[in-house]
């Protein structure tokens, strides 16, 4: 849904423009296509077409189609899993997928190209990663912060929001997008020549690194985390879960976090800061109903040994 993301990405675009030293994306593209024409790499017709494409398509991460987002997300997940062994227990995994996929239906973006899928990482560290397109990884350490299905829903709804709002894709540097568009040339281009495929793969690699650096090392900017919390609250309320479960889960997390840890602390704002922002949103929220016994039972059955 292009229009929905446009309203979110405008402040991001402003930041990008400022960082680019007041040059617009159009100017940067124009400069690079001029250089390519001068060196005979592309024809002037192709240059015009590329400039038109970038202008028409405009925004950086917005110009990535859902299908491309899916392929980017696959590799991001594979890279993360190469460093984080999966927890191969089918009961817990199946439960997580049922819960997560049900929550996704009531999120801002219920359907991505390949859909939402969940996997547990076999680690005591408190961590969760939402790869673009909907591949969501949650550690055992994180799952242990959840004492109920409502609290687990809060975690998953937050990760789903990162996907829905394309926070991972936003990490991709503008230069990668421009590079990719330049390589792809006009819409009439057929299969890529060998050299072009190598270049595009390099751009792909760099994009993956942009994303994993942000997700694993730096963490998202605080406003994106707050945005994900706000969206998670909406999702929880739409389904019927207690939105305050997000607060109780964060309090659990706060108690369990290792202050020197490489995990959550490094990549997320302090739980107490997030709680303050969330409490404001929940000031006038209705009290939640008591959870059905079936809900309590199935959570224990699935998550008991995690």
């Amino acid at each position: 849904m292009i229009a929905a993301t446009r309203t979110i990405c405008i402040p991001f675009m402003v930041i990008t423009l400022l960082l680019a030293g007041c040059k617009t994306l159009d100017t940067i593209t124009d400069y690079s296509t001029k250089a390519l024409v001068a060196t005979g790499t592309i024809s002037s017709t192709q240059a015009t077409s590329i400039n038109k494409t970038v202008t028409a398509v405009g925004k950086t991460f917005d110009s990535i189609t859902p299908e491309q987002e899916y392929y980017i997300g696959r590799t991001v997940a594979a890279v993360i899993l190469s460093k984080n062994k999966p927890y191969d227990k089918s009961t817990a995994t199946q439960y997580l997928n049922k819960l997560g996929q049900a929550l996704a239906l009531f999120s801002e973006r219920p359907e991505t190209f390949g859909g939402y899928h969940f996997l547990i990482m076999d680690s005591d560290e408190i961590n969760a990663f939402a790869a673009p397109g909907g591949l969501i990884l949650v550690s055992r350490g994180m799952l242990r912060c959840c004492q109920s299905e409502d609290e687990l829903s809060a975690v998953l709804a937050h990760e789903i929001a990162h996907v829905a709002q394309k926070h991972g894709l936003r990490a991709i540097k503008t230069s990668r997008i421009t590079s990719a568009l330049t390589i792809l040339g006009t819409e009439a281009a057929k299969n890529l020549a060998g050299g072009q495929l190598a270049e595009l793969t390099k751009t792909f690699e760099d994009s993956i690194t942009d994303i994993t650096s942000e997700m694993v090392n730096n963490g998202y900017a605080r406003d994106l985390e707050e945005s994900a919390d706000a969206a998670a609250i909406k999702t929880l309320q739409a389904v019927g879960y207690d939105p305050r479960a997000l607060v109780s889960m964060l309090r659990q997390m706060e108690q369990r976090l290792n202050p020197q840890g490489k995990d959550f602390n490094k990549t997320h704002p302090k739980p107490s800061d997030r709680i303050d922002a969330i409490e404001k949103l929940l000031k006038n929220a209705d009290p939640a109903d008591q959870p059905a016994p079936a809900r309590l039972r199935r959570f224990k059955d699935a998550m008991g040994r995690v």
Binding site: M1, I2, A3, A4, T7, K52, A56, V57, T65, P66, E67, Q68, Y70, Y71, I72, R74, T75, A77, A78, L81, S82, P86, T93, Q94, N97, K98, Q101, A102, L105, F106, E111, F113, G114, G115, H117, F118, L119, L135, T186, E187, A188, K190, N191, L192, L197, L200, F204, E205, S207, I208, K234, Q237, A238, G240, Y241, N284, D286, A294, R295, R298
Partner: protein, 167 residues
Amino acid sequence: MRDKRLFLAAAAALAMAVAVQAAGVKPGAEMSVEVKSTDMRATASFFGTITGPLKYGDRVTVLESNGAWIKVRHNDSKREGWINGNVLTKKRVVLTAGAATDTGASSGELAIAGKGFNKEVEGNFKAQHKDIDFAWVDRMVSFKNDSASLEKFVKEGGLKAAQGGAK
């Protein structure tokens, strides 16, 4: 208390309606499916009875809209049903690069399926990074639950979304 819920629901629906309107979704508009697959339903709900499948690149005609939900007719099968607007794009999704030149559409209006970061690029990446295993990713994408089993899960959990499920 009920008013608050209604207000939140209305605000969310309004925001989505604005987004959908901004995308220019009017009756008669032609749009393309930009997700791998989805289903049209008899009602504007993920738990509604399925009236027909849609797949990547399918062309549909908008019949009416209700918040985030859009009633469409599938141009090929002529079947009708409701889908969530998040699966549609105004761009034409062209499935073979060769066909693109016939449409007369500008490059900004086209999304060539399978172009850019695609299976081929992933294959090339894999060849250059043999240490990165995609087996678990392939397994992950197979973890699927159909809407009937998700509806059952929601119902058994005593969750309010089981009633209606529309947004």
